[in-house]
Amino acid sequence: MQKVIRSIIVLLFIFVLLVFYNSLNRETNYSTDYLVGNKLTKINLKSFNDNKIYTSEDLKNNDYTLINFWASWCAPCRVEHPFLMRLSKEKKLKILGVNFKDKKINALKFLNNLGNPYNDLAKDTTGKQSVNFGIYGIPESILINNETIVLKKFVGPLNEQDLDDIKKIINSL
């Protein structure tokens, strides 16, 4: 019996060490990569300019849609803006901008100064709609296909590498 107890204690010790080792080597930054492959449902975004509501049906008309969450008060959004302007030239891609917790006058000023890359513009004044998209900060962008399935998610400002990835995906077929 004593041998059994010793073995159990040794096994428990090894198990605890393995758990620590595994935890120390794990990626600790939160990521929403697991959303890739999920279908976006219950989309209900108010238009920035009028009373129109954007639903998933509207997005099904596009081959690919990049949903970009931005605000005029967000400094990294200014950094990614030139990349969005370049993406706006892609024929297979529509960009839906979601103006996040922003003042309309400031958002319009932002677009007038830096250019408007968005095919459609929606607003989320309270931030509540963004929870449906798994957004936890801005800028964030979600690339979806015409079945509203998430193909890629970008947390933080888009960069040259992201631009290439998006182009590769939308031109793959």
Binding site: T126, K128, S130, V131, Y136, G137
Partner: protein
């Protein structure tokens, strides 16, 4: 007159109790939701933009009559189990839930064995 006074006090008390139980429920849910942009804080402890938004969403869901489980399930669909401080039992975390009980049983067996051994010696 007395009856009227009694009824007013009764309904006032009832409404206060109902409101406070809703608040308790809401704060219980907040405490189980991780603030993803904070360091080790629940949304109950944080005033970040993300925490404030999530509190509004939780309030809306409660107003819609959703249960705790439905709210947790909705949010873990959007943000993963990481958002829950107390995730549901799943194949990925059964060890997390089962290990304390296993250790308790093994510990109990060891203690019983040691007690028996020492009583035999005595």
């Amino acid at each position: 007159m007395k009856l009227k006074f009694f009824l007013i006090v009764f309904f006032l008390n009832l409404s206060i109790n109902l409101n406070s139980s809703e608040l308790v429920e809401e704060s219980k849910i907040h405490k189980n939701l991780r603030c993803l942009v904070c360091q080790g804080q629940s949304i109950a402890d944080s005033n970040s933009e993300f925490a404030l938004t999530l509190k509004m969403v939780v309030k809306d869901l409660i107003d819609q009559g959703k249960t705790d489980d439905e709210i947790y399930s909705f949010l873990s669909d959007k943000y993963g189990d990481w958002i829950l401080y107390k995730p549901k039992l799943s194949p990925g975390n059964f060890l997390l839930w089962g290990l304390p009980y296993l250790v308790l049983i093994i510990g109990g067996v060891i203690i019983v064995f040691l007690i028996r051994k020492s009583s035999k010696k005595a």
